[in-house]
């Protein structure tokens, strides 16, 4: 080999590296702008009116007589849901990962469904069961002499917290179950040997060791609850229990519109989320629990003995509350000509499905819009995630850590408003692409983490040897990396799609006539036609369950855990 050919080899190598790096940094910079620009527009909207700095927005919200109760409700709702979801999710995770409860596999599948079904759908179903004078269960109970006064008030803050907890607990579940499974079971066994019973082992070892992971999950549930419109709109608004997110939405959508005040409220919501995160960081300190694992003696699951069936019953109760009851309710309601509070064969009809699928233009359009927007957004997410998971340097990883964290800490409704501000003066404003943009940015962390975790498991030598044998960066990416990443790509795409199609809070700010996606139409139908609403929700749930089945076939459960 002559010196000059060697030089060309080196040159082409450097050139390839720079393609790889510049592609990374350009995409990363784009993503950062896509987050920071909307955020800056929202800050601007909160502090400027007609290009003049002002605190008028804050003054106006302070004059609202509801401001104190809105903030109080937000705090109660978010903190309550966080604890509720944690108790349910962590218990289910512990039971599934560490005990010998019967039917673990089936329980496991059902435990994650509620989150993907969306809390809005769940809340509507529960509303159909318990709405005063017309709820299926409340009517049944009062008819049989149950005192009306003891019926739960479905519109109350307590009910909101309960339903939010039930439908966000899968999130905690996924965090906890992954963490429990990764833990060296010897940590528990050694505690047992040295005198700790089941309770002490659970409290002092299992929960404490997994504390950091659980805390991360908790704070995410908190921030998501601060920003959600789902349960607050389905239940809270009707009962007069406003939270910050619903108030922001009202200020933006009701006449007279007050953009400045809405943005100022958005700043308060971000502040609450930020305080939550600061508390979490304080509690966490700089603890990172890395443990040395041994030969991996197959961990013996905790024998529950006669408690086995009690625990099993509790798990099944959860599944009935969170999955079976909502779906059955929606199906029953969907099969009625009109909904009177109880199912009657007299009013049986298939017509609602026909109407929402083919006759009613808004619903038919929404299905098309949803499928289009979610597929495009999922594809973009996966491509970006592929590019951004390429580089493994300290700088790149720190940057990506920040990049995926930012949208998570911004409450969903506030995020929707930000995106609206960013595009309001551009042609994109009236198109579905504003929704696609919101989907990609809000949930990018999921596609990224899924692909990145698969990427990490691929040894760099596999690519290096391809490069040494003459493949360019592009060739080695296409021929070596992409096939190996395929499971990650498929699961990232499907998981993104599932999260997009159920996304409610941000799109409520972003749709226009003609660009409605399915959750938006849920809202439109909510107070108008229960039976059609139910039929439409059944259709969305069916699409989601179908994709979940495909997802389950393609990936192992561990990939889901890694993504969160």
């Amino acid at each position: 080999m002559t010196l000059s050919t060697q030089n060309t080899y080196i040159n082409s190598f450097i050139k390839n590296i720079s393609i790889e790096r510049s592609l990374f940094w350009i995409t990363a910079a784009l993503m950062l702008v896509a987050i920071l620009y909307p955020a800056s527009m929202a800050i601007r909207a909160a502090f400027f009116e007609n290009d003049i700095f002002t605190l008028a927005g804050f003054e106006r919200i302070l004059q609202l007589d509801t401001i104190a109760s809105d903030i109080w409700n937000t705090l109660m709702f978010s903190a309550g849901s966080m604890f509720g979801a944690t108790v349910i999710g962590v218990s289910l995770a512990w039971v599934n990962a560490r005990t010998d409860v019967p039917g673990v596999k089936a329980i496991e599948v059902f435990c994650v469904i509620p989150f993907f079904m969306s809390a809005f759908v769940g809340a509507i179903a529960w509303r159909l069961l318990f709405v005063p004078n017309a709820g299926m269960i409340s009517m049944f109970l009062t008819k049989h002499g149950f005192p009306e006064i003891l019926l739960p008030d479905i519109y109350s803050l307590g009910s909101m917290i309960f339903i939010q907890s039930v439908f966000y607990s899968p999130f905690m579940y996924l965090y906890a179950v992954a963490s429990f499974r990764q833990m060296d079971p010897t940590l528990e066994e050694i505690a047992r040997i040295h005198g700790a019973g089941n309770w002490n082992t659970l409290r002092k070892i299992t929960l404490s060791v997994n504390g950091p992971a659980l805390l991360s999950g908790m704070i995410l549930v908190f921030v998501m609850s601060v920003g959600t419109l789902e349960v607050p709109m389905a239940l809270g608004s009707a009962g007069g229990n406003y939270v910050l997110s619903t108030r922001i939405w009202a200020l933006m959508n009701n006449m007279p519109q007050d953009v400045t005040a809405a943005s100022a409220l958005g700043m308060i919501a971000i502040l609450i989320a930020a305080i939550g995160i600061i508390i979490q960081r304080k509690l966490l300190g700089n603890r990172k629990f890395t443990t040395v694992t041994g030969k991996g003696y197959k961990s013996k699951k905790i024998s529950l003995g006669r408690w086995k069936w009690i625990v099993f019953t509790l798990a099944i109760t959860y599944i009935i509350f969170a999955v079976v009851m909502p779906i059955v309710t929606l199906i029953l309601v969907a099969l009625q000509k009109f909904w009177t509070g109880s199912f009657s064969m007299q009013f049986f009809t298939w017509a609602n499905f026909n109407t929402v699928l083919f006759e009613y233009d808004v619903t038919a359009r929404a299905i098309k819009n949803s499928l289009f927007a979610c597929s495009v957004a999922a594809t973009i997410s996966v491509i970006f995630a592929l590019i951004l998971s390429q580089i493994r340097s300290r700088n790149a990883e720190a940057f990506m850590g920040l990049l995926v964290l930012l949208p998570i800490v911004i409450p969903g409704a506030v995020f929707g408003m930000m995106v609206l501000f960013a595009f309001v003066k551009t042609p994109i404003y009236n198109t579905i692409f504003i929704i696609i943009f919101a989907y990609v940015i809000a949930y990018f962390y999921l596609a990224y983490r899924t692909i990145y975790s698969v990427r990490l498991s691929i040894h760099p030598e596999l690519e290096q040897s391809a490069r040494i044998h003459g493949a360019s960066w592009f060739q080695s990416t296409r021929r070596i990396l992409t096939p190996l990443l395929k499971p990650g790509i498929v699961s990232a795409w499907l998981m993104s799609f599932i999260l997009f199609i159920r996304e409610f809070s941000s799109v409520m700010f972003l749709y226009r006539h003609g660009t409605e996606v399915m959750p938006v139409v849920f809202f439109m139908l909510m107070e108008r036609h229960s039976a059609r609403l139910a039929a439409f929700m059944v259709i969305q749930t069916a699409i989601l369950l179908l994709i979940m089945v495909i997802y389950q076939r393609f990936t192992s459960k561990n990939a889901t855990g890694a993504a969160f």
């Binding site: 060296d184 010897t186 940590l187 066994e189 050694i190 505690a191 047992r192 040997i193 040295h194 005198g195 700790a196 019973g197 002490n200 002092k204 070892i205 404490s208 060791v209 504390g211 603890r287 629990f289 890395t290 443990t291 040395v292 694992t293 041994g294 030969k295 003696y297 013996k300 024998s303």
Partner: protein, 361 residues
């Protein structure tokens, strides 16, 4: 002396796999007892049954005549009530606790007097030579130090029985040797009875007052290290402990404890006299001898008794001894000699097998 720990007819099955197959043994007080065997032989399962982490399918386990597990009487004392200490292979240091809290845990669980707790933990830290590291974050320590913390935690409550589950196998060779000495020293010093599981035979022989070699869930031999090496009772033990040359042949003559075995192929036959392992009845036998149970004679030799001819294939001088591989008609034989003789690769030699040491199975 009466037995301290008694295991009788212990069995444990996982699905189709018989992990422990009806084994019984006894341990005397203050002794270190090693369970040795290849992976999957049932040694760890046995240890876990003693600790209460596994429930046996059958059998009785008792300490000082107090039954802790008896399937027939449906007695199964929970792990936390057995008063034992354990060191695991993975160290199992709790990452959310300081070194001090890790070690104090067994004392806190047994409601140990709070005023004496700190001094007791310090004493344990001192014993494992980690004095002054109590406030450190447990996971900031090196692997070797973590293993010491695990040891301190296991002994701090003065358990009735100390369980070791391959405690040294995650350490590098040098640390492993240091820890071996420390461990033995502490065990003798505080006079504690211990059960030690390992697959490493040099660890086992160095540490164990008494050893059990296990294979396929059964006990192959229970003995002291010296006997296991010099008088293996089964072919498995002979092969598993130390290095062994094994050649198949026919037993042509036998009396109560010695025999003659004929090694034969198409070209030649050689008769070797050796000890007879008592559990052989068949005609076919296997001659087993260790690399140092021979002497090497150079060139052609008139003394043909108990000798096998061969050619030197490799020769390594190792200072305290020399190791050779000698190619013979029947097998390649590993030899170890302590003389300072020069051996040249390709030279013809004859190997004289020590008839008082070699064994036929």
């Amino acid at each position: 002396m009466s037995a301290f720990l008694k295991v009788e007819n212990l069995s444990k099955r996982y699905g189709d796999h018989q992990a422990i197959d009806n084994i019984s043994f006894e341990i005397e007080e203050k002794k270190l007892f090693v369970l040795l065997g290849p992976s999957g032989c049932g040694k760890t399962t046995t240890l876990r049954c003693i600790g209460g982490l596994e429930k046996p399918d059958n059998g009785i386990i008792s300490i000082k005549d107090e039954t802790i597990s008896n399937n027939e009487e449906q007695i199964f004392i929970a792990a936390e009530k057995r008063g034992m200490g354990m060191v695991a292979q993975s160290y199992a240091i709790w990452p959310h606790m300081s070194v001090f809290e890790n070690i104090a845990f067994p004392l806190r669980m047994s409601k140990f007097d709070r005023n004496l707790l700190a001094s007791r933990v310090e004493e344990a830290l001192d014993m494992v030579q980690l004095k002054g590291l109590g406030t450190r974050n447990a996971t900031d320590l090196s692997g070797g130090q973590q293993q010491r913390v695990a040891l301190a935690r296991a002994i701090v409550g003065r358990p009735k029985l100390l369980l070791f589950d391959e405690p040294l196998s995650n350490l590098d060779a040098k640390l492993r040797e240091q820890m071996r000495y420390l461990l033995k020293e502490i065990q003798t010093e505080i006079g504690i009875t211990a059960v030690y599981v390992t697959h490493d035979q040099s660890e086992a022989m160095g540490l164990g007052d008494e050893l059990i070699v296990m294979n396929n869930g059964k006990i192959e031999q229970s003995d002291q290290a010296k006997s296991l090496y010099n008088n293996p009772k089964t072919k498995f033990v002979g092969e598993f402990i130390g290095t062994a040359n094994m050649i198949e042949g026919h037993i042509i003559q036998k009396d109560s404890n010695s025999c003659k075995i004929s090694l034969k192929n198409e070209n030649s036959e050689q008769i070797i006299r050796a000890r007879l392992s008592h559990n052989t009845d068949s005609e076919r036998g296997v001659l087993l001898f260790r690399p140092e149970w021979i002497s090497i004679q150079k060139g052609n030799n008139d003394d043909r008794e108990n000798s096998i001819d061969g050619v030197i294939r490799t020769f390594q001088y190792l200072g305290d001894r020399s190791e050779l591989i000698i190619e013979t008609e029947f097998a390649d034989i590993k030899a170890s000699v302590t003389d300072d003789e020069e051996y040249v690769v390709g030279d013809k030699v004859s190997i004289k097998v020590n008839k008082n040491k070699a064994i036929v199975f």
